[in-house]
């Protein structure tokens, strides 16, 4: 009640009651005076002046933050990047179309026939070689190598055609 009285937020009835009490009670009177004295002194504390240009300095420090927030604003940058997005989408549509239109011979060309590989590799000598020799040939496709290995035993040989130059 003393605090509320000192701070001026006590109801009228309580205030009357407290005033009557304080007149008779030394301890409460002393406490109330002490609280009021400190409150008055603090309230009289001279305010510290704020230096000129304080607001401007705050705003100056905020401006870069505005830029960062601008980046974070997806609405702004999605609009700015919309032409780039359009180009990328167009490219995404065109590239698969070109791939489907490409000649089938490109893929077929990569296929290597076992016989032709053997002809190239043998270099015209009519000798027999182990099937595993195919491992060292770069132009043998995986399928051809697999077929050759599965179709023969490990010590099987491949007959080279004897070609005369």
């Amino acid at each position: 009640l003393i605090l509320a009285r000192v701070d001026g937020c006590l109801g009228a009835d309580d205030e009357r009651w407290l005033d009557d009490h304080v007149r008779q009670c030394d301890a409460c009177r002393a406490e109330a005076n002490s609280q009021a004295a400190v409150r008055s002194l603090l309230a009289s504390r001279p305010a510290l002046g704020v230096s000129a240009g304080f607001v401007d300095r705050v705003i100056e420090r905020i401006e870069p933050a505005v830029g960062l927030l601008g980046v974070a604003d997806w609405r702004k940058w999605t609009w700015r990047l919309s032409p780039v997005a359009a180009v990328l989408m167009l490219a995404a549509l065109l590239v698969p179309a070109r791939q489907t239109a490409a000649p089938a011979s490109a893929q077929a060309a990569s296929e290597v026939n076992l016989t032709s590989v053997m002809e190239t590799w043998a270099g015209g000598k009519n000798t027999s070689l182990p099937v595993t020799a195919l491992f060292w040939q770069q132009n043998v496709s995986n399928d051809s190598l697999l077929t050759a290995l599965l179709a023969s035993s490990p010590d099987a040989t491949i007959e080279r055609e004897n070609r005369e130059p």
């Binding site: 304080v22 009177r29 005076n33 400190v38 409150r39 008055s40 009289s44 607001v55 705050v58 420090r61």
Partner: protein, 222 residues
């Protein structure tokens, strides 16, 4: 208050003019709060930091509380962090704290030829620095900033009863620390040099709203 909420909403959408207006309204209060709580020369830097954090967090201000208490909460957090940091450094370097004892205050107030207003402010700030952080903040918000109990409770996130108790205990601790100034204001001869408007060296206890019946110089308000 509604205008402040409106300004806050505009500031949240990037309107720096609206934010400038809010800074203008609160700059003095926040700088003085920082000065009173931190009691060092960094008051403006701390206030600036508080405003910048407020701006960056403006999107999170939903108007559940007033802008005022929301800003004070940010400012107090900034000041507390600064003080924790400073305390750690003074522990490392063994720096002594300010002597805000009543004896030291008495020595200051007995001197002649000084700016009473400045000395009073310095004495109050040093006395506040001797309170525990909880009491200091509650007393500063009430007696220096003039916030209502409800606003302080909202700012600190504590019940009103706790606010009242902290203010009451804080003033009890301050009374002996500020005794020379209170005594000087009660004794006109010692208060010589005080500004004529009654500010600076303190005001006589028992005047106006602070009057308590049964004391000399009682002047009841009705």
């Amino acid at each position: 208050v509604d205008l402040e909420r409106e300004l806050a909403e505009q500031a949240a959408s990037g309107d720096t003019d609206a934010f400038s207006e809010l800074v203008r309204r609160y700059q003095s209060r926040i700088v003085n709060l920082a000065r009173a709580l931190a009691n060092d020369g960094d008051a403006e830097d701390l206030a600036q930091e508080a405003f910048i954090r407020a701006y960056r967090g403006m999107g999170r201000f939903r108007g559940d509380s007033s802008f005022k208490t929301w800003l004070y909460r940010i400012a107090i957090n900034v000041i507390r962090s600064h003080m924790d940091h400073r305390r750690r450094w003074s522990r490392i370097w063994g720096r002594s704290v300010d002597d805000g004892s009543a004896e030291a205050q008495r020595a200051v107030v007995s001197q002649a030829g000084f700016d009473v207003a400045l000395v009073t402010r310095d004495a109050i700030d040093r006395a506040l620095a001797r309170l525990s952080p909880d009491l200091r903040v509650a007393v500063a918000l009430r007696d220096l900033q003039g916030l209502e109990y409800r606003e302080i409770a909202e700012t600190l996130g504590i019940p009103i009863g706790t606010v009242e108790s902290r203010i009451f205990r804080g003033r009890q601790v301050l009374r002996p620390l500020l005794a020379p100034f209170i005594d000087a204001s009660a004794d006109p001869r010692r208060a010589a040099g005080a500004p004529k408007d009654g500010r600076g060296a303190g005001v006589e206890p028992g005047h106006g709203r602070d009057a308590v019946p049964g004391t000399p110089g009682e002047r009841r308000t009705s």
